[in-house]
Structures are given as structure tokens and as C-alpha cells.
Assembly symmetry: C2
Homo-oligomer: 205 residues x 2
């Protein structure tokens, strides 16, 4: 039971999701280069496990309901490596995502005992769940219907993020790093803007 939508949320789903406190979000694109590789899929999941996949059709340049949801300051948006998805959403759909929690940044600040901060390792350690990443590279831009495997894979990437966030928050608070984490999350949109403009090493010596 995963909703499959085309290019935007329906108004009913928008009205449902806007009552959430948390939204886990992930995106799939044709590749990792902003501007070259178009956005193909946006997956969202709220704290009641409602899960929707929005296929972004060729030449779509806005998703008004999705935009209103992601720009809503009251809903925390949870991403794993938000920098990439926030940039993709901005340069493909002109969405300026607000109120970001990044589980990859949180993991680096909290789990200093490891260098394994990939989603699979994170979910495995924090929640004891094995994610199947075998569909990670696939043609998300295909005109054909997504396969059941692709949809399951895509939904899996958002399904556990809210629980992972709660576990990471506990560690960050215990180690007195939650405030620092929030300051880091606030810089994500600047990093995304710089990536879109192809600036690198702006903060390095």
C-alpha cells in the first residue's frame, strides 16, 4: 500500500500530509549532477507510515502541493544526506525546503565511533533492519510503470527515517550536540545553493 502519483500530490493527500509533524523524504534522479540529471521520483512518508511515491514526469517544472508541504515551517523534513535532495528539489521544482533534519549529519555528529554513515548501516545499527539497496542504480526516468521492486525500494528509503531520527536525537541530546546539529541542519540549504551554482570548497582555506 504505497500511493503512486504523477508529478504532484493530490489535494487530498496534501491535506492529509499537512497535518503531520514529521515527513521523511527521499528523491531519485537520473544521476548525481544537478542541472544535468533530472529529478525522477520523490518519496514521502509521515509518522503514521503513510507513504507516497510521486513520479516526476518529463518536463515537469513545478509541483505546487509538494512545494507547499516542503516549505511549511511547522513540519520537520527528514532526509538522509539532505544536501543532495534539497538541491534537486530546488533546481527541478523550485522548492525551498524548510525545517530540515539530516540523518547523515546527525549520524556523523552522534556516531563518532564509526565511519559507516550510509543509510543501510545506520538503519541496521539503530533499528536492526536490513535494507535492500539492490535497486539503488536503476532507470528512474523510464516511461514505463515502475516495477514493484523499484517502488518497494524507493519506499524503503523513507520508511525508517523518522524512527532513525528519534534514535539519533537521543544520542545527540545525551552528548550535548543537539544544538550544534540544528545549526548544521540550518546550513544545508546554503550548501545546496552552492552545489546548484557549481561552487566548491567555499569554506575551506
Amino acid at each position: 500500500n504505497i500511493d503512486l502519483l504523477y508529478s504532484d500530490l493530490t489535494v487530498d493527500l496534501y491535506n492529509l500530509y499537512k497535518k503531520s509533524s514529521y515527513l521523511a523524504i527521499d528523491t531519485e534522479a537520473m544521476g548525481l549532477i544537478h542541472g544535468r540529471d533530472r529529478l525522477c521520483l520523490v518519496q514521502i512518508c509521515n509518522e503514521f507510515k503513510r507513504t507516497s511515491c510521486i513520479k516526476i514526469e518529463l518536463n515537469t517544472s513545478s509541483s505546487p502541493h509538494l512545494k507547499k508541504l516542503l516549505e511549511d515551517e511547522k513540519i520537520t523534513k527528514i532526509f538522509h544526506y539532505a544536501r543532495f535532495d534539497v538541491a534537486a528539489l530546488k533546481c527541478n521544482l523550485e522548492i525551498n525546503t524548510k525545517n530540515i533534519f539530516c540523518t547523515k549529519i546527525a549520524s556523523k555528529l552522534a556516531r563518532t565511533y564509526t565511519n559507516k554513515h550510509g543509510l543501510k548501516d545506520l538503519i541496521n545499527e539503530l533499528l536492526g533492519i536490513e535494507l535492500d539497496k539492490s535497486s539503488q542504480s536503476s532507470d528512474w526516468g523510464s516511461n514505463e510503470d515502475l516495477t514493484k521492486d523499484q517502488l518497494d525500494y524507493a519506499a524503503n528509503d523513507v520508511r525508517y527515517l523518522i524512527e532513525a531520527m528519534h534514535k539519533l536525537k537521543v544520542i545527540l541530546e545525551r552528548e550535548d550536540r543537539y544544538e550544534l546539529a540544528q545549526k548544521c541542519f540550518e546550513t544545508v540549504s546554503v550548501h545546496a545553493d552552492l552545489d546548484i551554482l557549481k561552487f566548491s570548497n567555499i569554506f575551506e582555506h
Copy 2:
């Protein structure tokens, strides 16, 4: 005519500087490693070219007048590579610098036609002035009085920063990057906090 002070500004100099709109600031330390290498000198210069060098004596852990000045939101603090100085001021003197302009970040965003963003190259191109960097590595922690050469070198590093800032602002505004630059400046204190705690690559994949 460079004021030389010990461990803090006098109240008279504080009262003078607090009326400035801009303060250029630089620091010299025993090295580049926060926590290991203590802060030895803080140089400041305002838009009327009043210039003071504050020698931070061994075991000094606060400079109340300097702190009030640097935490004053109304005065823009201009640094070249603010990330280093802001961290040094925070971990040595518990100063949380507010309202930062970094000429190195601004240079990277504005001067995309070069990769020479060192202070010497920047000042040379924008103002046609040759900085003498020959005293850059020296024992800033010495108990002896600073030599005239050392004082001149230290003051030189702040003397042209406000003019450089104005030139950089013109380019940033023309290229429609001034807002982006300001967002970058706002992230400097987060980078400084991460450096003090020895976190690296928090924002990278």
C-alpha cells in the same frame, strides 16, 4: 601610530571602537591547531583607520571589552578567512563573534576568474597594494616586546580589509551573489564550532 595593548582593550578604546560601523580583525596564534596553539595577538582596525594590536598574554582567558565589541550585532566584523579567527577567539577568549563578513569567502564567490584567494593576491588586485608577508611565521607568543616589523606586519593584515570588503560587495551585487554570500557568512560560526570540536567532513557525502 598603532596602539599596543595587553590582553584587552582599554575602556576608552572600547568606547571609541563601539561607534564604528566596520571593524577589520585578524589574529595571530602559535599555529593552526585550535586547542593546542594559543592565541597571541588580536589586531583591529576601524573605518577611520584607527588600529590597535592586543597582545594576549599567557593564561589570559577573557577580554571583556573585546568580547563586547565582537559580539555587538550592529558592527560588521571583517576577516580574511573568518573561520580560523572566529574559532580562535571562541576557544581562547569565549568570544562569540556576531555579524561576520569574510573576504576570503567573498573572493571565492566574486572572483571566479582566479584561484588566488590569499590576502596578498586579493589586496594586490583590488587595491593595487603590495603586502609584505615576510613576518607571517614568527613567534607571536614571545615574552619580549613585539618588534616594529612584527607590529607593522600585524597591522597591515587589517589595514586594507574594509576597502577590500567594499570592492568585493560591488562585484557580488553586480553578479547577484550578495545574498548567497551573506548566507555563507552566517555559516562561518558553525564551521568554527565544528573545527573546535575536531569534526571534519560533516557536510560531505
